[in-house]
């Protein structure tokens, strides 16, 4: 594992000895070290409270870290001259609770950041939004408001909204956990097509089928520690010699 952590030009995200202690004293991440390659799909699994969300959120600095180092696309996140907003433009994020902007139509949700952050021309942004929404299967819903959409549709809009900034990597925090079972598939399908296109993805999920099928690598966390970092075959195969992981997986099934 050690040579994996060295920064090579192909690393999209490097995290070295990342520690996170919340102001209330909760030690959520303990020396988490791993690299995510360009185009890699990494799935994070682990019991509730193990620090999965916290880790994911440190990757675009929605949470700051207490110590350690994070390098995104060659840029040190905590260097003095790093503009975190610029960095975030390149990192799309999808939340469990969608977090669409309820006061804006579907189309406007997708267009807001390209217009106000990237400063692209309105004509370009309109046609790009249409392309993106068609891609996630919502071309007919462009002019309605998020509250009129089903959960699955909302999450697909949220993915389109994140993609509108043309990011090089996407973070997903339990994107299907708030959905009715019959809507999980439509969201996973969009994510699979993204993975197939070579998007770098970090996905926190309880969908083991998705992890097994799509992930290049699976991280298993427990109590803020990255316990297992391996390919899915070794995680979900019949024999895994890791007791905690074994226990976690048997609880889920």
């Amino acid at each position: 594992m050690t040579d994996k952590q060295k920064y090579t030009g192909n690393d999209m995200i490097v995290t070295n000895d990342v520690d996170k202690i919340y102001p209330n004293g909760c030690h959520a991440l303990k020396k988490v070290t791993t690299n995510i390659q360009r185009g890699e799909v990494v799935v994070i699994i682990g019991p509730s409270g193990s620090g999965k969300s916290t880790y994911l959120r440190t990757l675009n600095q929605l949470e700051t870290i207490s110590s350690g180092e994070i390098i995104v696309d060659g840029v040190k996140m905590y260097a003095d001259d790093t503009n975190i907003n610029k960095l975030r433009e390149n990192i799309g994020m999808v939340f469990q609770s969608f977090n669409l902007f309820p006061h804006l139509s579907v189309r406007e949700n997708v267009m807001l950041a390209p217009l106000k952050v990237a400063g692209r021309s309105k004509a370009d942004v309109i046609s790009e939004a249409e392309v993106l929404l068609t891609r996630v299967g919502l071309a007919e819903k462009m002019d309605i408001y998020p509250n009129q959409l089903s959960g699955g549709q909302q999450q697909r809009v949220a993915i389109a909204r994140a993609l509108a900034m043309k990011p090089d990597m996407m973070l997903f925090d339990e994107p299907t956990s708030a959905l009715d079972p019959e809507m999980v598939g439509e969201v996973l399908d969009v994510m699979k097509s993204l993975a197939a296109e070579g998007m770098t993805m970090v996905v926190v999920t309880h969908e083991m089928g998705f992890a097994n099928e799509v992930a290049d690598r699976v991280l298993f966390m427990e109590d803020g520690v990255l316990l297992v970092d391996d390919i899915p075959e070794n995680i979900f195969g019949k024999v895994t010699n890791h007791v905690r992981l074994q226990k976690f997986l048997s609880n889920i099934r």
Binding site: N85, R88, L100, H103, V117, Y145
Partner: protein, 322 residues
């Protein structure tokens, strides 16, 4: 529910409506007969000229001149100092004759006309001072609310201090302080002093309304906006504040109505608003009861128009989302 049940409910409601109208009638009759016991003579017609002024308009000479009046009642003024002569036509009553020597201040003629009365002028002043104060109070309130929720202890403390001081002292006292203290130092006229006092006062309440509105927006909205690369300011401007404004519309409407009512206090620094106009009319007409009822009705017109307008806006926004 059966059709019969529905009918029953309808007649039942109607009964209460009738009772309501009867009660209002009785209260009015009570007020009337109470005024009879003190021998009050209601003279509503005395109030009318103070609402719509139909008295003839005096046309007065601006400077000394020689007057010529022709058969059609057109006055021509010629001046000794060589200025071009002035023609006054359309007068309904000419009070000078042809060839008269005119001195500055002389009454030349009268013209029929309809003007707004003193009470309507006062209403306009109340509206004007309320609208201007409203704009400033929203700006002040927004700044104070943003400072209040900021992490910076300096901004936060400053805002808390402002809000506490304003909410802990009477508006009347604040108006006196602004007018006599700040007004003297900065040489403010009455109107400006009134606007300053009302905006600073209302701003503190607007700040608290906006703060609670902003904090009621789920944290996920800010996170989603920031994750797209927006700065804090952009996220506030395009994502948080539009939602917060909408959510705070009902309490804001209440505050706005309070502002209109509170503006009556500026009459103490001799701004001729609706209340001050009422006081002046009372001393001119002696129709005390009628004038104050009229003043109350005019305030009611302002405030109910406003709350109706805001309800319309709310309905329209509600159609969009949520």
């Amino acid at each position: 529910m059966t059709v019969g049940g529905l009918m029953n409910e309808k007649t039942n409601k109607l009964k209460w409506h009738v009772l309501f109208i009867i009660t209002i009638g009785l209260i009015s009759a009570g007020i009337y007969s109470a005024s009879q016991t003190i021998n009050y003579k209601w003279q509503w017609h005395l109030v009318l000229p103070y609402i719509i002024d139909t008295s003839p308009i005096d046309i007065i000479a601006q400077e000394d001149a020689n007057a010529a009046v022709n058969a059609d009642g057109v006055i021509t003024l010629t001046f000794d100092n060589g200025e071009p002569s002035r023609v006054i036509s359309g007068a309904d009553q000419v009070l000078i004759s042809d060839g008269d020597l005119i001195f500055e201040g002389d009454l030349l003629a009268r013209k029929e006309g309809i003007r707004s009365g003193v009470l309507i002028d006062g209403l306009y002043m109340t509206l004007k001072i309320s609208v201007i104060s409203l704009l400033f109070s929203i700006i002040i309130g927004l700044i104070a609310a943003l400072m209040r929720i900021s992490d910076n202890p300096f901004s936060k403390n400053l805002s808390v201090l402002y809000i506490e001081i304003i909410r802990g002292t009477p508006l009347l006292v604040q108006i006196f302080i602004v007018y006599f203290f700040l007004g003297t130092i900065f040489d403010l006229d009455r109107f400006t002093a009134g606007v300053v006092a009302l905006s600073v006062f209302t701003g503190a309440y607007v700040a608290e309304i906006l703060r609670s509105g902003i904090q009621s927006i789920s944290a996920g909205q800010m996170e989603a906006a920031r994750s797209l690369g927006m700065t804090y300011t952009k996220a506030m401007t395009y994502v948080i504040l539009p939602q917060a404004f909408k959510r705070t519309l009902p309490p804001m409407a209440g505050q706005l109505i309070n502002l209109i009512k509170d503006s009556s206090l500026v009459s103490v620094i001799s701004i001729t608003d609706l209340t001050k106009a009422g006081r002046e009319v009372v001393s001119g007409s002696f129709a005390t009861f009628e004038v104050w009822f009229t003043v109350a009705a005019l305030y009611l017109v302002l405030t109910s128009t406003l709350s109706w307008g805001i309800q319309r806006i709310e309905k329209r926004l509600a159609n969009n989302d949520r």
